[in-house]
């Protein structure tokens, strides 16, 4: 194998600047999409466990559709198709005035895809941990809505923090898709450095370690939250 090693590309300007801006953008997109995913996931997950048949059906359709279309296709739909099919004034605003259009689109697209997966976890949590407590909650004199809001929902959500870790990691990995619409996140920047210097080993190794470290931090963070709120004990008690 004929390869000239040169690890100095990782500390030389402008490449070091490119790579670090990629790390920051990957972090920003991951965190923002995760915020969207958790919000959507909780709303849809509650709707999926609601007594209303219509709410359950709509939430089920959302989950099925958003999980069955590849995330990259969803990203293209939001980026290329959505501005064309909305009323002209909205489409024009999206194309001309939306700040950071690529980043915002990527966050929305990844967030909505991951949200469908989170919603399934929320529903499972409410079903396995929250719902069995409802009769006891009702017996204490709470109204059905109070029993759900004060007992079933918070305990159901606490129980799923552990399982949500893998959804968080999937969201972080999905942030790399945004390079297809021109966002220069970590993977794109390492490719960029490779194109400029032909030092692919060094550039891709940086990106690989970057994702490993970000993933470890995400896992550690979720584990910390899980242990603070006693999620593992809840899961065990109900299993």
């Amino acid at each position: 194998m004929n390869y000239r090693w040169d690890w100095s590309v990782l500390i030389r300007e402008p490449f070091v600047g490119w790579l670090w801006s990629g790390v920051l953008l990957t972090l920003a997109i991951s965190l923002m999409s995760w915020a969207v995913a958790v919000t959507i996931g909780i709303v849809v997950g509650i709707a999926r466990s609601a007594p209303s048949r219509t709410a359950r059906l709509l939430a089920g359709i959302y989950i099925d559709v958003f999980r069955s279309v590849p995330p990259l296709v969803q990203l293209f739909l939001w980026y290329f198709v959505f501005p064309e099919v909305v009323p002209d004034s909205v489409g024009l605003w999206l194309k001309r005035d939306l700040p950071y259009p690529e980043i915002v689109t990527a966050v929305i697209a990844i967030g909505l895809f991951a949200g469908a997966r989170v919603a399934e976890q929320v529903r499972a949590g409410i079903e396995a941990v929250g719902a069995p407590l409802l009769p006891a909650a009702l017996a204490t004199g709470l109204r059905p809505l109070q029993a759900f809001r004060l007992i079933a929902l918070p305990l159901g959500l606490r129980a799923i923090v552990g399982p949500l870790t893998s959804e968080f990691l999937i969201t972080i990995k999905l942030s790399s898709l945004s390079l297809t619409i021109g966002v220069l996140e970590l993977t794109a920047q390492s490719r960029h450095v490779e194109n400029y210097t032909f030092q692919g080993f060094e550039a891709f190794t940086f990106a690989t370690i970057g994702y490993l470290v970000i993933g470890l931090c995400a896992t550690g963070l979720m584990r910390l939250i899980d242990s603070r709120i006693g999620g593992a004990a809840l899961r065990k008690a109900m299993a």
Partner: protein, 218 residues
Amino acid sequence: MSDFDWGVIARSSSFLAEGMLLSALLVFVATVGGLIVGFGLALMRLSTHRVISGPAAAYVTVMRSLPLVLVLFWFYFLMPLAIGRPVGSLTSALIAFVLFEAAFYCEIIRAGINSVRKGQSDAGLATGLRRWQVLRLIVMPQAMRAMGPLILNQIVIVFQDTSLVYVVSLHDFLTAASVIASRDGRATEMYSLVAVVYLVICLSITKAAEFYRRRRPS
């Protein structure tokens, strides 16, 4: 926005069909290759020797924490260096897919084997079967029941993953559609078609897996 031209789909259908054929090839190779390599990795991870289980565990952990796009770039760049001549994006993508999906299949197979109670293999060994006979005749048939629906689900994910070969300009179904979308300026029609086709295929397989799981309670 009123002037949609759905005829573009009919006019480009053979090009799209070729794309779908490539997607199917990728799914097939990634699944068969991934299952074989994944099975090997699972056996390594189940070994009691640290020297054998350690590297397999590290491999699976690293692969599962990297985005597929980065893995595709790695192999696209590495393969020509390792072999010494250009190999083309199809070969490098196929190898990347097999090695990437193997990590996920490994975990499914490992969970399947672990779901078989230990007494089963102890009993098999006590009757005088050899270790590989116990694995083939007693453990695997039972593990398959637990693995079936998970493998079907993973095939859906692999099918969705194949759309990412877009980044190494292979003409799979999505990339073929995007070529026509930009050539004819028909993004709306083409991407809507792509979304509907993926939706129908993936949803049918997912529902089949759910049906299969509900029909035979574990």
